[in-house]
Symmetry: C2
Subunit: 360 residues, 2 copies
């Protein structure tokens, strides 16, 4: 049973310990005496794209690949190396990012001058450390620890969704220097956005249109179709299926989808969470098994918007790697970054076979 | 006056020489005896995103950073090094990519099974070599050569737009290994897509909505607003203005926009082309001047769709770099690649000042 304890860091940020079991003393204080940081964040309306862009001008100086003995995500094991986590050990810990892209206290005010529309970049960015073991990985966590991470994500999804102005809670993991990860300690992030992200907004529209046309859920129907086809399935459990999407954008991409139509992580039941805690790392291990060494990947939870169309939504976890071959990465160049046309050089059916471990 | 000559490569692909002036003999034949390649390309409908994704499964084995003495984009200077360009010299040359993402002869057929919709990846991908000088760059071309490149793009925009099933012609340059460029020889590309790319489709919708609401062009109005504000302007000519967009997504991003409301490159007049041939490389030089060495950048021409809403469209060239500081790149990680929320760490006004060469 996951146990939560809360402290405040010396600059006022919140930190939450999530332990696999109760009984641990996590009361150690942050002795760094950090000054409070003003995080100037704004969002600007891109009138050509019809989307918000976040401008966070203070983040340029953030920590960049520190040496392993100065990792800010290690627990504070001795007084010479005071880290972001005051306790001498932890299971899972979540805390507010010191250099967040979005902030509940940004001093920016709304302004609208003709076509130029600025709103405060309100929201919150949290860091989730999966383990105190600096050299571990999410895929290699013991199952009970994965379960604790999931409990932490559930707790944060609920609590962040209650904050004023938060419209969407996005939990994700970036793994690998190849995708720009600046800290190698196993960790994820949670962004609480003041708007529904463009990708989820387009999904919402598709779910809405399909529901209006058929009375059914597009994600449910896609899952049935994938079960029928079979060729793109990577893992199939009693409650979740992992499959390569029919129109995958990335060389190796998997959707992990619950069989039950649920809006978000907090809606999963005990049996579902128990299976997910095994299936999720099993899928990540399949990515690591593809080529030379640990796969660079992004894993992101597509949850329902906080305030509307929650019944419409069907939870999904998207996992994708940018490695397309040993030593070769998929870059987003002119077609993708300039025109938003994804070119995938690997047929989804072949990617699924490779992820299943078949010789292709 | 640009002179065009056409040949066919030994596998049947078309190649066009565009010379700064007439009178050059470009009749040399391709002696390689290349076998014809079948390019299996398809597009699949991503029903959650409501967008096409191109699957080009044959491209995995394409040429990857060959040594400089084996560059396939050099002219064929001797019989021991037969390249893609049979002539012993050239000014500008355009030819069909041997490993294209889209192909007029793809054997894929349409199929629709429930939610799974496949269409042939019809279209064409061309390579544009800007100079026979392997170590040159677009920014350092003499102005008359830039003019020849523009003439080549105009010619290809017109001719590719006439091909069956082509809905959009996108000319772009990827520059720098940092964004995955596999050949360092100065070159660009032209993709003729069988659909309007998602980014341009969203722009089209915004232009349509703004026109319906105001009777005016959003791009024209944005240009007026930028002229009024002034702070984001990088270069201002008589016919073009280069400015950092108000809601820039990339650390350094510039839009080069003609003052006259024109749909595409072929619609530019002589005076406009003459100015563009100076202003375009001048803007690229500003990118190169930002940090340590040549900037990795993507430059893409946002032209009107081939067949509809051409009156609505206003031509623009988007140029952006992924370098955010010396030795540091902007990566697209969880927020951008997973949720499509761009986080820009550099205020557009500061980026514009830096591009103008001001100390910031």
């Amino acid at each position: 049973m996951t146990a939560r304890q809360q402290i405040h860091l010396s600059d006022g940020r919140e930190l939450f310990y999530f332990d696999d079991a109760p009984g641990k003393d996590r009361s150690a204080a942050d002795l760094r005496g950090l000054p409070e940081v003003t995080n100037v964040s704004e969002r600007r309306w891109d009138s050509l794209a019809g989307e918000w862009v976040v401008i966070a001008g203070h983040r340029q100086s953030r920590t960049f690949l520190p040496p392993a003995d100065q990792c800010p995500l290690d627990p504070t094991r001795d007084a010479d190396h005071l880290t972001e986590i005051p306790a001498h050990d932890y299971d899972v810990v979540v805390f507010e990012n010191r250099f967040p892209s979005l902030s509940t206290s940004t001093p920016v005010e709304s302004s609208l001058h003709g076509l130029f529309h600025i709103e405060p970049g309100q929201g919150r960015c949290e860091v989730v450390c999966f383990t105190s073991d600096h050299s571990g990985s999410f895929a290699s966590l013991p199952v009970p620890r994965v379960r604790t991470v999931l409990d932490a994500l559930i707790n944060r999804t609920v609590e962040l969704g209650r904050l004023d102005g938060v419209e969407y809670v996005f939990a994700f993991e970036n793994r690998g220097e190849e995708i720009g990860v600046t800290l190698s300690h196993p960790h994820g992030q949670i962004y609480a956005y003041p708007f529904v992200p463009p990708r989820m907004e387009r999904t919402r529209q598709s779910l809405r249109e399909h529901h209006d046309a058929t009375g059914e859920c597009l994600q449910c129907n896609l899952l049935e179709a994938e079960h029928g086809d079979g060729v793109r399935i990577v893992e199939k459990g009693s409650h979740f299926t992992a499959y390569v999407p029919f129109a995958a954008r990335w060389p190796y991409e998997v959707m992990i989808v619950p069989h039950r139509h649920v809006p978000d992580l907090p809606a999963l039941d005990e049996a579902e969470l128990a299976e997910l805690a095994e299936l999720y790392p099993a899928v990540l291990k399949r990515f690591d098994g593809l080529f030379d060494g640990p796969a660079p990947y992004i894993a992101g939870w597509q949850q329902a918007p906080v305030r509307f169309d929650r019944d419409l939504w069907h939870l999904a976890l998207q996992v994708f790697s940018i490695r397309r071959a040993p030593g070769k990465l998929k870059y987003l160049a002119g077609s993708e970054s300039g025109a938003a046309v994804w070119i995938n050089d690997i047929a989804p059916e072949k990617a699924a076979a490779a992820l299943r471990g078949e010789t292709v």
